[in-house]
């Protein structure tokens, strides 16, 4: 069963992501901050992380950078309202495997899951 970690400070965004996951069995865990992301990743080593960028405190960029240091093979898909091309370039340079604009569609999430 693929393990997925959803990290977003917005509870409703986490709910939406759960909702648009295509049918299947997943072990889904959630985090509401960059710090929680790092802790929960270290605990469970999920197959895929859906990570928000604009979060209070440690933002998604910092989180991604630290996560890739913790595990260079971590697979991270950024799910964000920040649709600037500069942000996309930055997260891809930091090692994300994809970027999905909010609100996420079932199709975009299904394509991302093929990476697992």
């Amino acid at each position: 069963m693929p393990a997925i970690l959803i990290v977003d400070d917005s509870p409703i965004s986490r709910k939406i992501l759960r909702k648009v996951l295509p049918p299947g069995n997943y072990d889904i865990r959630e985090g509401s901050s960059g710090q929680e992301c790092l802790e929960k990743y270290a605990e469970s080593r999920p197959d895929l992380v859906f990570l928000d960028l604009t979060m209070p405190g440690m933002d998604g960029f910092q989180t991604l950078e630290l996560l890739k240091r913790q595990d260079p093979s971590a697979k991270v898909i950024v799910v964000t309202a920040d649709v600037q091309s500069g942000s996309r370039t930055r997260v891809m340079d930091l090692g994300a495997v994809g970027v999905i604009a909010k609100p996420p569609s079932t199709e975009a999430i299904a394509a991302a899951l093929k990476l697992v």
């Binding site: 400070d9 917005s10 509870p11 409703i12 965004s13 709910k15 939406i16 909702k19 604009t54 979060m55 209070p56 964000t80 309202a81 920040d82 649709v83 600037q84 091309s85 500069g86 942000s87 604009a101 909010k102 609100p103």
Partner: protein, 210 residues
């Protein structure tokens, strides 16, 4: 009406504005050829006469302020204020560059005003347009008002305080990377339209989560 802002509605509103703000900042970044750092929106209830002080606090009590204020109407209504610290218009003129279409005979203050109008249009229009899309409605915008004044001037206080009663204020912050431009987008939704907004937000939540 403000007490009907449940946690779920607040979260949904924050996320919807976050999506709108993200779109508007992407448009602005493209227009200016810059990268923009965004913040998480916050929502609070305000009294009309608190708005001036809130803005002073947000902007860090600068001497000068550049404001674009625009009212909108439709199934919900209110006003948006794009507040930039200092004489941001000058920076914007430089960023927009020589090929921005401004008439060469315009004086600097006119150029600044044009630049602020352009930026205000992009930011306010894109953010509220996306927000309205998510609420499945359309908005009409009145012509924006631009103000470049000392923040303590009578005119600045008048523009920022001319709201009777309570309103819901949604505030987002941004910073243009490597430029001395920071700003806030403030959206005020008066009590009279909140019942409609809450129903539309509830509908959005039902749609995305059912």
């Amino acid at each position: 009406m403000l007490k009907e802002l449940t946690d779920e509605r607040r979260e949904a509103l924050q996320e919807m504005i976050n999506i709108g703000f993200g779109r508007s900042m992407a448009s602005l970044a493209e227009l200016l050829g810059v990268y923009i750092e965004l913040s998480v929106p916050d929502i609070c209830a305000v009294e009309g006469d608190q708005i001036f002080d809130l803005l002073l606090t947000s902007l860090g009590v600068p001497e000068d302020v550049s404001l674009v204020r625009q009212t909108f109407r439709g199934q919900f209504f209110g006003e948006a204020v794009l507040a930039l610290s200092g004489r941001a218009g000058r920076e914007l003129v430089v960023m927009l560059g020589e090929d921005s279409g401004f008439h060469p005979s315009l004086e600097m203050s006119q150029l600044e005003m044009e630049a602020l109008l352009e930026v205000g249009n992009v930011v306010i229009g894109a953010c509220l347009g996306q927000f309205a899309d998510l609420l499945e409605t359309n908005l009409s915008f009145n012509p924006p008002v631009v103000l470049m004044e000392n923040i303590h001037s009578h005119q600045a206080r008048e523009v920022l305080s001319a709201r009777p009663g309570q309103a819901l204020m949604i505030r987002t912050q941004f910073r243009v990377d490597q430029r001395a431009v920071t700003g806030f987008l403030l959206i005020f939704l008066p009590l009279e339209c909140l019942a409609w907004v809450y129903r539309a937000v509830d509908h959005f939540v039902e749609q995305v989560l059912s």
